[in-house]
């Protein structure tokens, strides 16, 4: 698995928070920064590569056991602090995660539960009225994406060839589906949900917005301003619409079956003949 060291996550986190210092008490792999967004306090969270991570399978920015539970802590602290406040602090997940950590230790100690910890924290924060925004600046793969970002009210992505969004890395996906990598790539070119690129992902209707920058790795001041503006727009949009679900994800021609299921199931669920 390739990583763009020290990682776009860390890089963009620094740009968006004007290089504010990270909160103490977190491991080096989980960077938590309190900074302002639209003139209000906000919490930014990124998982970044840590070559000294004490769990060796989580040194390249993967989400492992510690990372999952530390994300949960970072989110739940914010929720607890706002318990009696009317205005809930926004939480921004800056996303560049190559995958979850693959290892025996990870499975044994229940990495699924650690990822559930993170996903539950984000989902609970959203249900409690915290605006949650996911900003994809690099890879958003599989369980790592489910744990860090996919529970956001709004998803924003940079529109860039380095963006990869998928359910599994290419080599493994090929092995599990009994195909060669070449065959997988050929299929992905014609079947949008199987593709890894941002264009295909955007066609599924899951993104609220995607942003074309001049150079995401060496952004001009206007690039940074554009990303900040998108986060501010998303924040305003979330505050304006009372829906605390994942309703910001619209249906497109590539996700029509989802709409059909929702409509029909609702109708049958409410039908008097189907009441207990």
């Amino acid at each position: 698995m390739t990583t763009n060291n020290p990682g776009r996550g860390a890089f963009w986190l620094a740009q968006l928070t004007k290089h504010a210092g990270a909160e103490p008490g977190y491991p080096d792999s989980v960077r938590v920064v309190n900074a302002s967004l639209a003139g209000q306090p906000a919490r930014f969270i990124a998982v970044v590569p840590d070559p000294h991570n004490r769990f060796p399978r989580a040194r390249n920015g993967e989400i492992g056991l510690t990372e999952g539970w530390e994300i949960a802590r970072a989110v739940r602290e914010t929720v607890a602090a706002d318990q009696h406040h009317e205005t809930r602090t926004p939480i921004i997940a800056v996303i560049d995660v190559p995958s979850q950590a693959y290892g025996l230790r990870e499975e044994g100690f229940g990495i699924h539960q650690a990822l559930a910890g993170a996903a539950a924290a984000y989902a609970s924060a959203r249900l409690e009225g915290h605006p949650v925004i996911g900003l994809i600046v690099g890879h958003a793969i599989s369980g790592a994406f489910l744990a860090h970002g996919y529970q956001a009210n709004r998803l924003i992505a940079l529109h860039d060839p380095k963006i990869q969004i998928h359910a599994m890395g290419k080599q493994s996906a090929a092995r599990i589906t009994l195909r060669s990598v070449q065959a997988l790539e050929k299929l992905a070119a014609t079947i949008p949900p199987m593709a890894y690129d941002i264009e295909s992902f955007a066609s599924l209707g899951l993104l609220w917005r995607s942003l074309r920058l001049h150079n995401p790795d060496q952004p001009a001041a206007t690039d940074i301003a554009a990303v900040t503006a998108a986060l501010e727009d998303a924040l305003a949009d979330i505050r304006n619409l009372p829906d605390r679900g994942l309703g910001g994800r619209v249906s497109t021609k590539h996700r029509q079956a989802t709409d059909t299921v929702r409509e029909l199931l609702y109708r049958q669920w409410m039908d008097p003949v189907n009441q207990p």
Partner: protein, 283 residues
């Protein structure tokens, strides 16, 4: 289990998804929604040379359990490894969302999810992943009102994004044959090498991720034999416990304290995992 007992029991795992749902719901109360005759199947499989199934491998059944309004969602492990595609995933997420909506309008509907699943269906990759994010959201919403009970039974196991769903449930039931883990053995071997994980070594896989080990290390709440009556009795008991004071997924404090105890210098052993979690997740 003695041979006599083995012959007397009524196996749960040998039932298909629909029969499992029927077995949990009160007699005559089951109403299957979006069943096979509605013919809502995956739009993505035929173009890849895979035969779609008319219910996409997910059974949604409304009814009552011990008189309480419930929805049973059963994943058919025998169809495409219980994988979650666009349609099956939307069925699960929508059913859970409707149960949460029921609660908001005064009907205390709970949910039972039968988790025999390999996770995302890779032929529908990003749509499966998106549906699983919807499922996670819906579980966290619903479990505020009524328990969401996960049952991991069946030889496929419970993997991928759906193992995260299992980790979000209010209560989790597992049997001996099942396995619960995030990454499938072949994927770990592919990504980390055979020295880290040998996907051919079945006893090794069960020692770390089998139902019994998960129960003994407190990652599941109930360990059951493969017996329909016992499973129903366990479900009924857990439903009557109501929403837990704190969900397992919300216990970051305890889990972080446990992880601090882990010696990362040596490889994990099933014994060390049990020891650390049994002590640290006492509650």
């Amino acid at each position: 289990m003695s041979p006599q007992e083995l012959l007397k029991r009524s196996s749960f795992s040998e039932l298909d998804a629909r029969a499992r749902a029927r077995c949990l719901l009160d007699p005559e109360s089951m109403r299957e929604l979006l069943g096979a005759f509605d013919r809502i199947k995956s739009p993505w499989l035929a173009m890849q040379g895979i035969t779609p199934q008319a219910d996409d491998g997910v059974v949604v059944a409304k009814g009552t359990i011990n008189g309480r309004p419930s929805v049973v969602i059963a994943i058919e492990g025998a169809y495409q490894g219980g994988s979650i595609g666009e349609v099956g995933g939307a069925k699960i997420a929508t059913a859970l969302n409707l149960a949460a909506r029921d609660n908001r309008r005064g009907i205390p509907t709970s949910a039972i999810v039968l988790l025999e699943t390999g996770g995302v269906r890779l032929q529908e990759a990003n749509l499966g992943l998106a549906a699983i994010a919807d499922i996670h959201s819906a579980i966290v919403d619903l479990r505020r009102y009524q328990p969401v009970i996960g049952i991991a039974v069946g030889t496929v196991g419970c993997y991928g994004g759906m193992s995260i769903s299992a980790g979000l449930c209010s209560y989790l039931i597992a049997s001996r044959e099942t396995r619960l883990g995030l990454n499938g053995p072949a994927v770990i071997e592919q990504e980390a090498g055979i020295n880290e994980f040998d996907a051919r070594d079945k006893p090794f896989i069960w020692r770390f991720t089998g139902g019994e080990q998960r129960y003994l290390s407190k990652l599941v709440d109930a360990y059951v034999p493969d017996d329909s009556n016992e499973i129903l009795a366990t479900v009924t008991t857990l439903l009557s416990c109501g929403v837990p004071k704190r969900h397992r997924s919300d216990s970051y404090h305890e889990f972080l304290a446990c992880l601090a105890e882990v010696d990362a210098g040596e490889q994990a052993s099933p014994e060390a995992i049990r020891r650390i979690y049994r002590k640290g997740l006492e509650a």
